[in-house]
């Protein structure tokens, strides 16, 4: 027996290997990113032969794993919830086709949101795809549910979705486990075109078969203890019952324990779809009212048939947006108890008073910012200098924070830095205007979703500059290896693919590579590229702004350390800490000038090029 203090993502990694998962694929995205590297770690430690890959995007990850599953192997793919949007085409289709070996999709939700563009509820995606879904309450339960998901998937030959929310992924818990063993099920592919390559006529039959599976799975979910359960005995009746799923179910159980309340029944639906109708009906029949607490949308609330009894988001009892943190859950349970004529869990509340107090203190607003020495800062500074009055479509990654430097005007989704740039071009072109547009996109995002948009832009003769911010790593999600480096997640060598080859292959004729630390040269090249793009013989101009990530590839990023100081020439204009926004440059209000914070300063030396008064100098 071994013991480890694991992230929820690590607990799920363990669950995958304990369930005999043979193939795991993923594209990183908070809060899912650590599942795959943790699986690598456990797989290596136990000398398993698991195939594990970072795929180029989530759809690619899905299809790779699905092929293994229809060859009889146990396979899984994991992603953040917006990644499931990218894989949605595959997800919907795979539900009809089904699988042979267990096939589990893990989609990690981000109620809050903390690090995402939406708060979407992956359980709804499962509902649309008609895929069974499990919704864990804790890291330990997530680990166990993955095993259950594989079993269900194999029994009914249907993909199963596991939906952990961020409080599972980034919770940390002590977990004990036994020795892991390899699953040696061989790959066998049996040709069956009417199933694996079915035409619409057969799709109708597959849809019918899927619906029939659902009736049986719902039956199973009626008794799927401990994930689906309630505490009501026959003949009992209650003024109020609580229906919970996922993380809120653990919060409610902890609250009942803390306040010693065993008089309020709870229906836990950790496997909410296909909906366990009988179990829910038993509960509903015994309660005058039920309060539904689920994240982040109204999946269970929609499926409970008796609207007159049901309180939740649709009746204003639960907030429609935001994470259901414990103090919110306590407040809304108290409210429902009061409305039902029952005593609340607690009567004291210091938190509300304290929140009002801290709000009155004018605490510093700490928005996320690019790291000291980040090459993206230099790139955005150069872009703003080179073409100050442009539209700056950008994308998803660390460089989204270029918005702090005024270098990011739009962020829609992965790949939209390019597709929206071409959209802007044509919209203004329609009015006879040649709008300056400088788009930005990171290297990993470019591989994920950039190329199709770039091909489209070239084909349809859009004109803009695309700056690919190549820092040699997937930084925001925790320093995953980049395709341009050719390193794979398990340390084996892959084949490096050069951005230059891809860009040229997309039909781009104008390509320059710059080092953003060389600020003046970068400004000059962006200007030149912009002029070319708008010239009669122009087109899409691409600049690869290449400098290694100062965190993930520190030694390569900082071959020379500049110790800098601010001289008395500083006239307190604030450009360095407000517009250049380097966290190591701090205004001293007493001296009315900028100072360098030596603990934060990376010594990149980029600031030597940006001060209008030339007040940043190397220490002699």
């Amino acid at each position: 027996m071994k013991q480890a203090f694991l992230l929820g993502n690590g607990a799920m990694a363990l669950g995958l290997l304990e369930a005999g998962c043979q193939v795991l694929t993923s594209y990183p995205g908070t809060p899912s990113s650590e599942i795959l590297p943790e699986t690598v770690r456990f797989s290596k430690a136990a000398d398993l032969n698991t195939v594990i890959e970072w795929s180029v995007n989530e759809k690619v990850a899905f299809d790779n794993a699905f092929a293994a599953a229809i060859s009889g192997k146990r396979a899984a793919c994991c992603m953040k919830m917006v990644g499931l949007n990218v894989a949605a085409d595959s997800f919907m289709s795979a539900a009809y086709i089904g699988n042979i070996g267990g096939f589990v999709v893990i989609s990690c939700d981000d109620p809050g949101p903390h690090s995402s563009q939406t708060e979407q509820d992956s359980r709804f995606m499962a509902r649309i795809a008609k895929v069974p879904v499990l919704d864990p309450a804790s890291p330990q339960e997530a680990r166990a549910m993955i095993k259950a998901a594989f079993d269900i998937s194999e029994e009914f030959q249907v993909p199963v979705l596991v939906r952990p929310a961020i409080r599972i992924c980034h919770a940390r818990q002590n977990i004990s486990y036994e020795e892991l063993k390899s699953n040696l099920t061989p790959a066998v592919f049996t040709r069956e075109p009417t199933r694996w390559a079915s035409t619409p006529k057969f799709r109708f039959l597959q849809h019918k078969a899927l619906n029939e599976k659902h009736v049986k799975i719902a039956e199973k979910f009626n008794t799927l203890v401990p994930y689906n359960r309630h505490t009501i005995q026959p003949e009992q009746t209650f003024a109020l019952g609580i229906v919970v799923g996922g993380v809120p179910s653990a919060v409610v159980e902890d609250l009942f324990a803390e306040f010693n309340r065993d008089d309020i029944p709870m229906l836990k639906l950790g496997a909410p779809y296909p909906f366990p109708e009988n179990l829910a009906n038993q509960f509903m029949d015994a309660c005058d009212r039920v309060l539904v607490i689920e994240e982040t949308d109204t999946v269970i609330e929609y499926m409970l048939r008796d609207r007159h009894k049901t309180w939740g988001r649709l009746t204003g009892h639960v907030p429609m947006e935001g994470e259901l943190v414990p103090e919110k859950i306590l407040a809304l349970v108290n409210q429902a108890l009061s409305e039902s004529g029952l005593p609340p869990l607690s009567t004291t509340d210091t938190a509300t008073q304290a929140f009002a107090l801290t709000a009155s203190l004018d605490l510093p607003i700490r928005k996320p910012t690019l790291c000291p020495g980040c090459p993206h800062r230099a790139s955005f500074y150069a872009i703003r200098k080179a073409v100050p009055k442009a539209i700056y479509p950008s994308d998803i990654g660390c460089y989204t924070l270029g918005s702090n430097l005024g270098g990011v005007d739009t962020v829609l989704d992965m790949g939209a830095g390019i597709t929206m740039a071409s959209g802007f071009w044509h919209a203004f072109q329609q009015d006879g205007k040649a709008k300056p547009i400088i788009a930005t996109m990171g290297d990993s995002t470019f591989f994920h979703s950039g190329t199709t948009g770039l091909i489209n832009a070239v084909y349809n003769d859009a004109r803009f500059v695309l700056v690919i911010l190549d820092n040699g790593i997937t930084a925001m999600t925790g320093m995953q290896p980049a395709i341009t480096q050719g390193a794979r997640v398990d340390g084996r060598k892959g084949n490096a693919i050069a951005l230059e080859t891809i860009v040229k292959g997309c039909g781009v004729d104008y390509l320059q590579v710059v080092d953003p630390y060389d600020v003046d040269h970068t400004i000059a090249e962006i200007k030149k590229a912009h002029e070319w793009a708008l010239s009669p013989e122009g087109g899409i101009a691409v600049i690869i702004s290449r400098h290694p990530c100062v965190i993930g590839l520190r030694d390569q990023a900082l071959p020379q350390i500049f110790e800098v100081e601010i001289t008395d020439e500083c006239d307190d204009c604030g450009l360095c800490h407000l517009r250049f926004e380097c966290p190591a440059m701090v205004r001293n209000p007493d001296k009315k000038k900028t100072e360098i914070n030596p603990v934060l300063c990376s010594g990149c030396g980029v600031c030597l090029n940006i001060c209008p008064k030339n007040a940043v100098q190397t220490v002699s």
């Binding site: 309450a137 210091t350 605490l363 910012t369 690019l370």
Partner: protein, 187 residues
């Protein structure tokens, strides 16, 4: 069983997660179950970072506002920001000057709810002893001086010793001892 709830706050890069690991490992060594919640991703980049740690048997990772036993903060502003998480009768430990913390605007609230605050310039001490990045350990040591909660000073020190790389082990232990002694003076 009631859990012992730690809220740890500071800025990205100050080693909040490492501080959490020291407390958690010590609790594990003593045979407790632990469950915590961390900040990752976009929120980590220079923003305010908070980590929750429950020692004992819990099902949910987040500490409810108003239910934290101890708030240990690497920064005064981040201590005020997370003050709502401290329960009545709870304790606050801050990396900062005793002259300036707590702000007079919060003292009536602290007094009303019997919340006690202790500040020490742990960052300054760690810098003077040659390891400014070990301010997180300095705060753990400061906390340990008060003998509160299930984690004794000696057990925390043993974890710090085991978790420190050889290159900084001696200096970390020195910082631990100095900051523990500073705390003892305030007990």
């Amino acid at each position: 069983m009631k859990t012992c709830n730690f809220v740890l706050s500071g800025l990205g890069g100050q080693g909040i997660l490492f501080m959490t690991k020291i407390l958690a490992q010590t609790a594990l060594n003593k045979g407790y179950n632990i469950l915590g919640a961390e900040t990752h991703g976009m929120a980590q980049r220079g923003g305010s970072v908070v980590s929750h740690l429950k020692i004992g048997d819990a099902g949910s990772s987040l500490i409810r506002a108003g239910a934290g036993d101890f708030l240990i903060s690497m920064d005064a502003a981040e201590a005020y920001r997370f003050l709502p998480w401290v329960r009545p009768g709870g304790m606050v430990f801050v990396n900062g000057s005793n002259d300036r913390f707590p702000d007079e605007r919060v003292t009536p609230f602290l007094a009303e709810h019997h919340i006690t605050c202790f500040a020490m310039e742990a960052g300054k001490t760690a810098l003077e002893l040659g390891a400014p990045r070990s301010t997180n350990l300095a705060m753990v040591a400061f906390f340990s001086a008060f003998g509160q909660g299930p984690l004794e000073a000696e057990a925390l020190r043993t974890t710090v010793e085991a978790a420190s790389p050889d290159s900084v082990k001696q200096i970390n232990l020195k910082i631990f001892d100095v900051c523990h002694d500073e705390g003892r003076k305030l007990c």
